[in-house]
Symmetry: C2
Subunit: 390 residues, 2 copies
């Protein structure tokens, strides 16, 4: 009896929900701004719902994986908690319409018969060490990331050989509007460090740091500055480095995407990657301090002192910004930590950086700003950050 | 009897070929340089064979589609003629090892149960108006596309609003090594136009135009120059433009990838795209002549005359370079056509460009070079080009 009731309930849900989902696809929705070319799907509805649609005639099962199927999805992706089953029509199209999603760029995979794929019709970004789809939902309260009718800076891509890693590397450099107009003017510099599994391109592709700065400068909310974006991974020769995943790994080794190759990605660790805690001396720190900064100061018109040099990062990059920024107060006077990941459980306010935090006057004299934040939905990070600093 | 013989033959092929394919995967192969992160597959063997491997436990059928499954695959992709069936193992991995492929970058899709996908572990490029995978096979005879220990130029990304298309556009500009060192030095400029379904990023991503120029300049084979890469599509407001595909199109409308959304991509046509023939006056020509060139000449240290301005393009872009370059001899003195597509069947040497080709002395006075080539495997293009110019 109970089972029958349960089945009836499921039928009722199917009848009520599925046709509604189908009726939501037309008219009021528009192709996402993140679509490739003029691809008609995914489509975004005025209330933030997103309709995904893909043709896989022979598939047995197709699912939407919000937040790229992270096992630790804590509600950050307001597309919903995955996996979300997609429905097949007679022509082999699989579709689903999500709940209303928050404004922003939402990463996702499609799970086609067990393979996690990026959507062929969405822009992809370097995330989780693979190419990851994302759909953009307009944000009614924030549009500084859009290109607007204001003066625009340039993004300059430069290449250099690292003697430390014995490899060619690439730096992306944002120069503000008017940089070429006055060849005597010098600018402060912000070193911006990406998250784990990303690379130096993500700040200007997914993040649109350049448009945000263009807009903030035009509004008088930011001083014209140079932004330096490099790769936070720097394995030495012979080190496999943190950008390594092994498809033969089993789920017991801590997959982020269970049952799939991408799941075997390992947490980036020193020496090539970010520090696990506030320890210093990683290869990346050496590359940044002795190769990247001198290279930038020689090729670009920076004000080459600590009072005009900031470092900030996201997630893994915030760990790097914290250890490198607070550990080198003579080099950086501003430190920003965004969405700081809770993998510094050994962090201790009294002993960190040789007890720097126990001498606030001395610390504050050199570090003008230590900014530490997380998104509103990142409750775990906020809670952890509070617990480690109280 | 005939059928039985046929079946036996197939069994024999399976027995002989499949185990061989499996035995080719280990040891002597290396992860392709085009892999994302440290992904172990695809792997390239010393003789140019490529092993593809992907985990899709529930799939019924997985195939490799060389040359992104183009219906008109004429052997350009030496990975083989697709579709090529992949074999499944007990763990749900599908694999195949190809024939030896020529050195170069080979585009491909995977066909998973009827869905054409880009490989999550390969670099993707903007091709066919979607994100397309490519695997790089080292070329034993040509390495100018590799980054080498020579001075490197920069790639500068600039943004501008087009009054003609009423849309924001992006230009990528290569500046040669030493550009910032001498602020009085001026350079010739090459305008480089991409192929159909591509965009302005493809010359430096898949094409590595910047590294090729760095190397040629270092070897003294090219003069330092500025390279300008913009988008060859320029639909006016209200025009859907050529970057349009419609998944409701049926295969009878000329798919390039039968049975799949990507198949419905239409040939780029005027007004937004490249000209079908040597006709002039497209929107892109207007944008190039009245917006892009003045913008570049004002922001970069070009030598702003026709004697120091070249235009060249690939495929669709070569059609544009031909019509714009030969149609504006006062603006461009050098014209390059690469892999010119045979869609100028109405081309007539006697009437083209108001009879310009019938006055060779006058033509040669203004156009210092008209370069027209195709790859060795592009026999159809070579044959057509010869037939239209004899």
């Amino acid at each position: 009896m109970r089972k029958r009731l349960c089945l009836c309930f499921m039928c009722a849900v199917l009848v009520l929900v599925t046709p509604t989902a189908w009726s939501q696809t037309p008219d009021d929705s528009k192709p996402a701004t993140s679509n490739v070319g003029n691809a008609p799907y995914p489509r975004v509805h005025p209330d933030g719902r997103v309709t995904f649609r893909v043709k896989v005639p022979l598939a047995q099962k197709v699912q939407l994986m919000p937040d790229v199927g992270r096992a630790d999805n804590n509600g950050v992706s307001t597309l919903g908690v995955g996996p979300i089953d997609m429905q097949k029509d007679a022509d082999g199209y699989w579709s689903v319409t999500t709940q209303p999603a928050r404004g922003g760029l939402h990463e996702y995979f499609l799970n086609v018969d067990g393979l996690f794929i990026s959507d062929p019709y969405s822009e992809v970004y370097d995330e989780l060490n693979r190419r990851t789809s994302a759909v953009e939902v307009p944000d009614p309260d924030f549009d500084d990331y859009l290109i607007k009718d204001v003066p625009h800076g340039q993004i300059r891509t430069i290449f250099y050989f690292s003697n430390i890693t014995q490899a060619w590397r690439r730096t992306l450099v944002y120069v503000p509007p008017g940089y070429d107009a006055d060849s005597t003017k010098r600018y402060p510099a912000l070193y911006l460090l990406h998250g784990g599994g990303q690379d130096e391109t993500v700040w200007t592709s997914a993040g649109r740091a350049n448009f945000i700065l263009d807009n903030l400068i035009a509004e008088g909310k930011a001083k014209p500055m140079i932004i330096v974006m490099d790769c936070g991974y720097a394995p030495k020769p012979g080190e496999s480095g943190p950008r390594f995943f092994d498809p033969s790994n089993t789920p017991t080794q801590g997959p982020m995407v269970p049952g799939n190759d991408a799941g075997s990605q390992k947490r980036p660790q020193a020496p090539g990657g970010g520090p696990a805690g506030p320890e210093r001396g990683t290869t990346f720190e050496q590359v940044l301090l002795t190769e990247i900064i001198p290279n930038i100061d020689s090729q670009f018109r920076t004000i080459a002192d600590s009072d005009h040099r900031a470092i900030a990062g996201l997630s893994m990059g915030s760990g790097q910004a914290f250890s490198i920024g607070c550990g080198n107060q003579d080099i950086f006077s501003y430190v920003g930590l965004f969405s700081r990941a809770p993998y510094t459980s050994d962090f201790n306010l009294k002993t960190a950086f040789n007890g720097a935090f126990t001498k606030p006057d001395e610390f504050n004299k050199k570090t003008h700003l230590l900014y530490w934040n997380a998104g509103g939905a990142e409750t775990g990070i906020v809670k952890f950050a509070r617990s480690t600093t109280e």
